[in-house]
Symmetry: C2
């Protein structure tokens, strides 16, 4: 070139403004810059940003003051990281090519059944970052209704596996366990994994952070040990201890899932199609062969009736079979939260109490973990049919599970005690009575208002269970927060929605 | 207060950074600022921003450099305008209240039928700016499928009327005319209005800007006369001339429509539910009593079959009746664009040729305008059944319609000649043949790539119609652009999609 690189109209120099727009990739240009004129761009245009061999598609925001010079551009923080650039680097900007797979989304919206190839094209474009947040919302909404066929769900799950990494462990069986969610406090994985591993099975557990709940397994585990391991570190832990409990997002298993979840979260959607695709794609990509799936059922859980559980189980089996996975569903009680804590650190504390055999360990968490671990031992052929729970209890009571958990934490980078929220408020019974209802969904919302899961130490601890009698002024729950605004907001919500815990005068 | 206002943690001073994020309202805060800590906010939080009595809900973006001080905030350009604030003003920031109507959107997604009250709550929240772009995309997708009932469509239309201004003209009938779109160049309104007004009917026409097409009536009219009139100015024009052709967005008729359209546009959705609700809410809110609706039918128009036209007409009548509107549907030929120009200025030029009786006026545009004006004259009782077209032709040929158009333009603020794109490229036939197909959708895309409608002067002009014979090298169309990048992009698209105009060797 005879001109300096940055004098080409399409090549600009990057300046870091440090604007964090969360997930959406944004590129900033000055409104009067030559490239805006020559390309005819305005706010909301979709722009291809290229640095050496790497490209991203970003939404254009224009600046109308002197933040940027005419030959400068900036990126949102997420875009900065994805493109892997530094202050002063040169980038080339061109029109983003049309995203062909969006016509598939449109077809789905208008009632058509998509082919496996059509669905794969959508998921490829999602993983490549070509979908704006608006496009993702349309895709999620289109697939959230009831009119998605089993074949489409199989195709979606397969596409989510194929567009990410796939792990192979060189042995079988590889067992796994997953809860479909909707039940606060149900952190059985952190107990099931060490029980099962101490009995000799291989269980490389990858978990999600919370989608719409106050805590995911990865969030709770993170209050005790590092979870952000890359693939090499994860393999090392599994080679050493036969198990791990890590955040799946780092090892790029079914990466479309995390992109989809980032828009599902503000939308507060949890459709069964996405649920099945999300769960099974992660399990299959992680190399699992035998999976136990816990489905809690209750009026305020995610699955609210036997009929809904039947439909979900059928879809899990249909898709699992197509993927070559052995699935065993265990239906559990979803009428009240499990354990006492709701929120990452508070739930982790319950887990440690169970593993340590503490006197104040929550009985229900302990019993569920034993039952689920027993099911895993059975499908992994480490216990005979009907004998799994007994073997699991033994491993828990003799300390094998605790020692295995400590070893896993050490292998993942070190173990610490979970830190609980420093601001508290005790909620007391207004009068004597029997606890006749506990609204899991409202409790989850309360814990989220208190700051969970973003504030790992926040949430609440229940002091009363269904059917117990309480006296006037007796503590029903304690709220924990790290920020005064969040504690206040939770208290306001409770004042406006007192029926989170129903008391009937006895 | 004993402390200075800006020292309260929730009160910050505004600095204008001039960032244009198009429609979405965004508030910027520095990551370490005290309010982020006390409220527990991070990127994507929804924040209530209050200045004196006015509030908006905005999405938070955090800055991680020294763009803003710890007690400062900034807003996206749209938010700046909506809130009506200036540099240095103080604003109070608090958590945005939960948007209850989103549970209605969720219910719709999962297959429920909504009540009128539920739909009104959604539309109220949309008009109040409480829906993020992601929420809007979910709403649009949920209502775009085929599972929306007539009652829901009536409820949506009614809600869109009730959440905006409603005009009353103190006389009847008030006639109106609307084309459902999908046919480039179909600017009959700009001819129908002066014809009808010159015959004594009152026709206060409010029009939209383009949604997914290369030009809307408001865009084309804007190349000749001001369209951005407020209500008082609009009334003045109608009092003087019995008619107007203005942009409806300024007078706050069915304001939910414009918010919805801003997300429909990038999604490229045009569902019949939204279409009926959009058209009839604007007409009813404008005070119309008798409306002629033009439905072009053709394989590449918006309505592609008789069956689809039947369904749309039935919905228009059902909803129109519920609203007390008299609707008359006129089905027209949608197999090729109308007139020669596609793009605001080029279509306006065609309109002026027809009104002026120029020798090169497009015959098809002229004939359609006469037919539609005739239908309006008949439903408005200014002509007997069957005699409307004759009366309309008379008003056009004797110059009454032209004089009325000039008077309307003068009353709206002045008349000028439309300015055409300065960069051109002539597309020529590759060999002799007969024109056997003209793809309206691809032509529209081509005009948009050339810059329409954002560049009013951009678009294309057709030189060949269906069934005509052309020679090798004969001009088929001319592309017009204002930016070299846009002209190039249009040419690339044409090279990759030569079948925009199909030629069969004869």
């Amino acid at each position: 070139m005879t001109r300096a690189a940055h004098e080409e109209p399409n090549v600009l120099r990057l300046r870091r403004l440090g604007i964090d727009t969360y997930q959406e990739l944004v590129v900033f240009l000055e409104m009067g810059s030559p490239i805006c004129r020559s390309e005819g761009w305005g706010a909301e245009s979709r722009v291809l940003v290229t640095h050496r061999e790497k490209s991203i598609v970003a939404t254009l925001n224009v600046t109308t003051t002197t933040l940027l010079g005419p030959h400068e551009a900036s990126l949102s923080e997420a875009a900065w990281h994805v493109l892997g650039v530094s202050e002063g680097d040169l980038v080339r900007l061109t029109h983003a090519p049309a995203v062909d797979s969006l016509s598939q989304v449109r077809a789905k919206v208008y009632g058509e059944t998509l082919t496996a190839a059509g669905i794969l094209s959508i998921v490829r474009d999602i993983v490549a970052g070509r979908y704006s947040d608006i496009d993702l919302a349309a895709f999620i909404t289109a697939f959230a209704g009831t009119k998605v066929s089993v074949d489409e769900t199989i195709a979606l799950t397969t596409a989510m596996i194929e567009t990410g990494e796939r792990l192979y462990w060189g042995r079988a069986p590889i067992v796994d366990k997953h809860c479909v969610g909707g039940l606060p406090g149900n952190r059985t994985s952190m107990i099931v994994v060490p029980i099962v591993a101490s009995c000799g099975l291989t269980i490389p557990k990858t978990s999600s952070r919370a989608i719409t709940s106050p805590a995911g397994t990865a969030d709770a585990m993170e209050t005790i040990a590092p979870v952000d391991l890359d693939l090499a570190q994860m393999r090392h832990v599994v080679e050493r201890e036969g198990a791990c409990i890590v955040w799946g997002g780092r090892v790029r298993l079914a990466p479309a899932d995390d992109v989809i979840i980032s828009v599902e979260r503000p939308l507060d959607f949890d459709s069964s199609t996405q649920l099945v695709a999300s769960v099974l794609s992660k399990k299959a990509a992680a190399g699992s062969t035998h999976v136990v799936i816990d489905i809690p059922i209750g009026p305020t859980a995610k699955v609210r009736s036997i009929a809904a559980a039947d439909a979900l189980e059928a879809m899990l089996h249909a898709v699992g079979t197509a993927l070559g996975l052995s699935i065993r569903v265990v239906r559990t009680d979803g009428t009240q939260p499990v354990g006492r804590g709701i929120g990452p650190a508070l739930e982790a504390r319950d887990v440690l109490r169970v593993l340590r055999g503490a006197a104040d360990a929550p009985d229900d968490l302990r019993a569920r973990s034993i039952a689920l671990a027993g099911a895993v031992l059975e499908i992994g052929s480490a216990a005979q049919a009907g004998k799994g729970a007994v073997r699991a209890r033994e491993a828990l009571e003799n300390g094998d599970a605790l020692r295995k958990f400590e070893a896993i934490c050490a292998a993942q980078g070190g173990m610490k005690e979970p830190v609980i929220g420093r601001l508290t408020h005790v909620v007391r019974a207004t009068g004597p009575g029997r606890v006749t209802g506990i609204d899991s969904r409202r409790l989850a919302r309360l814990a989220k208002l208190a700051g969970a899961p973003r504030a790992l130490a926040a949430g609440l601890e229940l002091h009363a269970r269904l059917d117990t009698i309480v006296e006037a002024d007796q503590p029903l729950m304690t709220l924990y927060a790290e920020a005064q605004g969040e504690l206040d907001y939770a208290r306001e919500y409770l004042a406006a929605n007192p029926q989170v815990i129903d008391l009937e005068e006895s």
